[in-house]
C-alpha cells in the first residue's frame, strides 16, 4: 500500500525562475543531479505521530534512510521500529542498528548526532531543549506543534530560530494547515483583498477529548506523568495549546499579526477525575490584535456537546468559512458565495510538509517556520494565561514571564514539577486567584 517513492509533487520555484525547467523532466530528479547525498533521518519521540512523521519523511525523497530513534520508553521505540520495518521491507530505507536505538531522557542527543534531518515529536514540553540541540548540531528539522509549553521555552525557540536561519537550516513546523490547499487558497484570496480587512473571527476546537492512560502499579510519579502526558501542563500545555493552536494559528496567519492581549474564562467541569491531571476541559478566549480585530477562540473536551473544528472570519468585504473537511468558502456581504474551494483531490498536508522540507534541502533553499510556530504557540499560551488567571494578559507582559514549567534536568527518579496530594489530585488553576506569572 505504501509508495516509498513520491517524486513528481516537488516544486522548485528557484529552478523555475532560473528557467532551467526542462519539459518532461521531473524536478526532484533533476535536483538530485546537483545534490545526491543520502540523507540520514533520526526520529525523537516514537509515538504514533513521530512514527507517522518518519513514514512521511521516508516517502518524501528516494535517497533517505532512517538511522536512529530516541524515546523515553523502550516499548514505544520498539513497536514504532517494527511498524516501519514492516512497511519499508525491501526498500533499504529503515536501517536502525541496535546501538542507534536510544532510550531515556537524554536519548535525543545521540539520535540527533547520527542524522542530517531530525524529526522532533515528543510531548511539546521537551521541544525547546531538543530544538536547541538540533540547531546547534546543524541539523535540518521537522518539529511538531506546539513548540514549547512555557514562555522561557518560547524565548529559547525564537533565539534558536535566528541561529537556524544563519546556518541556513530548514525548519518545518507541524502546523500543517500552512501546507493544506484550502487554507493556502484563502490566504491567496486575502492577499488579493477579496474579503477586505478582517475585523473579527471565531476559531474552534470543540470535541469529545482524547485518550487517558490511567496510573499503573509500580510506576514512579515521573513515569505515570510521562505516560499520561496529555493531562500535565509542563508536558502538554493544556489542550488550548496542544490542539487548538491549529485554529489560533490560522487567525494569526489570516490577520497577519499576533495579538496584543487576551482575556478569557475556562475550567474543568466534566473531565475532572483522578486520571485527568491538571488541565481544563474548556477555554474561551478573546484575542485582540493590533489592527483592532477581535478573535473569539473556543476549545472544549466534553463528550456529548456540540463539536466543531474550524475557523470563521468576517472582513469588510466578505466572510470566510473554513471547514475541517477541507473546504473553504468566501461569501460577500450579501451572503453570496464568491469563492469556493472544494478540496476533493487535495494532497495530504502531512505529506506535503515533508515533500517540501526535503525538496528545500535538495535545492539548497531555506524554509523557516520556526518564528511563526513559536509565536502561534505563544498566542495559545497567552490564552491559557488568560483563562487560568481570569485577567487581561498582554503579549508584552506575558513574553517577559520567567515562569518555568519544564525542569532543566530530569530522570526517572526526578520529582515532576507538579505533584498529587494524598488523594491523588493535582492543583487546578483557579481564575481570580491563580497568578500565572509566578
Amino acid at each position: 500500500m505504501l509508495t516509498p517513492s513520491r517524486r513528481g509533487f516537488v516544486k522548485s520555484s528557484a529552478l523555475v525562475t532560473a528557467g532551467m525547467l526542462l519539459p518532461g523532466m521531473e524536478i526532484s530528479a533533476m535536483a538530485n543531479v546537483f545534490n545526491d547525498k543520502k540523507l540520514k533521518i533520526a526520529v525523537v519521540g516514537c509515538g504514533g505521530r513521530g512514527t507517522g512523521a518518519a513514514n512521511q519523511a521516508l516517502k518524501a525523497d528516494d535517497n533517505v534512510e532512517l538511522v536512529a530513534m530516541a524515546d523515553a520508553f523502550q516499548d514505544q521505540l520498539d513497536s514504532s521500529l517494527i511498524n516501519l520495518q514492516e512497511a519499508y521491507e525491501g526498500t533499504g530505507k529503515v536501517n536502525v542498528k541496535d546501538q542507534h536505538k536510544y532510550v531515556g531522557f537524554d536519548a535525543y542527543k545521540k539520535a540527533i548526532d547520527q542524522a542530517d534531518v531530525v524529526i522532533l515529536a515528543t510531548p511539546p514540553g521537551f521541544r525547546p531543549h531538543h530544538f536547541e540541540y538540533a540547531v546547534n548540531a546543524g541539523k535540518h528539522v521537522f518539529m511538531e506543534k506546539p513548540v514549547a509549553t512555557d514562555v522561557p521555552g518560547i524565548r529559547k525557540v525564537l533565539e534558536m530560530a535566528k541561529v537556524a536561519k544563519e546556518k541556513k537550516l530548514n525548519v518545518v513546523v507541524g502546523l500543517q494547515r500552512h501546507y493544506q490547499n484550502n487554507y493556502l487558497a484563502i490566504a491567496e484570496k486575502i492577499k488579493e483583498n477579496t474579503v477586505g480587512k478582517i475585523v473579527s473571527g471565531q476559531v474552534y476546537w470543540n470535541n469529545a477529548g482524547v485518550w487517558v492512560r490511567p496510573r499503573e502499579a509500580g510506576q514512579t510519579e515521573m513515569e505515570y506523568q510521562m505516560r499520561n502526558w496529555y493531562y500535565f501542563n509542563w508536558l502538554c500545555g493544556d489542550h488550548i495549546l496542544e490542539q487548538h493552536i491549529h485554529n489560533i494559528d490560522v487567525a494569526n496567519w489570516f490577520i497577519g499579526e499576533y495579538p496584543i492581549s487576551a482575556q478569557g474564562m475556562g475550567g474543568r467541569q466534566i473531565r475532572n477525575g483522578i486520571d485527568h491531571g491538571e488541565i481544563f476541559d474548556h477555554h474561551f478566549v478573546e484575542f485582540t490584535y493590533p489592527s483592532g480585530a477581535v478573535i473569539s477562540s473556543q476549545c472544549r473536551h466534553q463528550p456529548g456537546t456540540w463539536s466543531k473544528v474550524g475557523e470563521n472570519f468576517q472582513g469588510t468585504k466578505g466572510s470566510i468559512d473554513m471547514k475541517d473537511a477541507g473546504t473553504a468558502t468566501i461569501l460577500d456581504l450579501e451572503g453570496n458565495a464568491i469563492f469556493e474551494h472544494r478540496g476533493k483531490d487535495d494532497p495530504n498536508p502531512y505529506q506535503v510538509e515533508h515533500d517540501r522540507l526535503f525538496a528545500s534541502i535538495r535545492n539548497k533553499e531555506v524554509i523557516s517556520d520556526t518564528e511563526n510556530g513559536a509565536k502561534s504557540t505563544m498566542t495559545a499560551i497567552l490564552g491559557r494565561m488568560a483563562t487560568y488567571s481570569g485577567k487581561v494578559v498582554t503579549w508584552d507582559d506575558a513574553m517577559k514571564s520567567e515562569k518555568l514549567l519544564v525542569p532543566k534536568e530530569m530522570n526517572w527518579d526526578s520529582t515532576p514539577p507538579t505533584m498529587p496530594d494524598a488523594n491523588g489530585h493535582y492543583v487546578i488553576p483557579t481564575p481570580g486567584t491563580t497568578d500565572v506569572f509566578v
Partner: protein
Amino acid sequence: MNSRNTSLLLLSLLGLFSGFSQGTEANDYQQELTGSDLVIDMISIPEGKFTMGSQEGEANRKADEGPTHEVEINAFWMSKYEVTWELYNLFVNRTIDAVANTAKGTDVDAAVDAIAGATVPYVDMSLGMGTEAGLPVGNVTHHSASAFCDWLSAKTGYFYRLPTEAEWEYAARAGSGTAYHFGDDVAALDDYAWHYKNSDNTYHEVGQKKPNPWGLYDMHGNVAEWTLDQYLPDVYQKRAETSLNPWEPATTEYPRTARGGSYDDDAESLRSAARMPSKERWKMRDPQFPKSKWWNTDAPFVGFRIVRQAAVPTPSKMKKYWNQ
C-alpha cells in the same frame, strides 16, 4: 407478545418456506436496544429480480456500470435510515454492553465483550459537521462498520451486516430502472437527496427528504454507504446472464465499494447505478502510523446502513461477512 415479535415469528416462518415475495408494512419491525432509547427501523425488502447496472443511454453513465445483467436477490430487511452517530457511538462507548437485551434473538450466539471496540478518536471525526441526534455517522472505515454489525448482532441475537452491492442497488431502485428511484429528471433530486448543490457542504439529519418507493430514506446522497463488496470495475462483464445474490468478497483494503453518493457529490454520482471505490486518501490526514483501522480522516461523506437476511446463515458464514 408484542407486534415486533409477532412479525418476526411470521417472517421466520415465511423465510423457512422462502415464500414471501412482497414486502408489507406488517413485516417491518423496530430493533430495540435495551439500555438505550434508540431503535432501528427495519424495512422488509421482498425477494425478487432486477436489472443491475445502468442502460447504455443513461446520462453520465460510467463504464463500470455495465453491462446490465439480471440479478436475483433473496429477501432481507434494510434499515430505513443511515446509521446515525448516536447509534454508532453506542458501539464506540460500549456502556450498554452491560445490559442484556430483552427479547434477544437466537440467530446469533456470541458474547458482546469478545468483540473489539473502535478506538476513541483523537480528533472530532465528524470534522465539525456534528454528531447530534439524527446525523449520520461518517468517517467510519469498512472494518469498523462491519465490526459495528458484529457487535449489534451479538447484542441483539439477530444477524446484521452490511448490504452487498447488489442488495444495495436492488433496494435503492425499488423496482425502478431509471437513473434515480424517482425517475430520470435531475430537477426532482432536491426533493429526495442531499447533494453538493443543496447540502451546504455538510450531511444532514437522516429522513428529512422523501423516501424511495420501498420506504428507504437517503438512498441517494447524504452519506455514501459502504457495501460488502470489493470494487471491481469490470465485474459486471464477468457475471452470468442471471446471478443469484452476487457478492465479491474483499481481499484487499482498497478499493471497496460505497454506493449512493453523498452531500459532497454532484448529482450524477448519486444515481442508483453509480459505484464509488474507496481510496487510501480517505485516511490521508491520519497523522499516526500505523493509521487507524477504525477511522477515516478524510471521508466524512461515507457512512453505512445495515441489513438482515431473512435466511439466517451459518455461524462461519456470518464471520465471513463481518471479517473481510
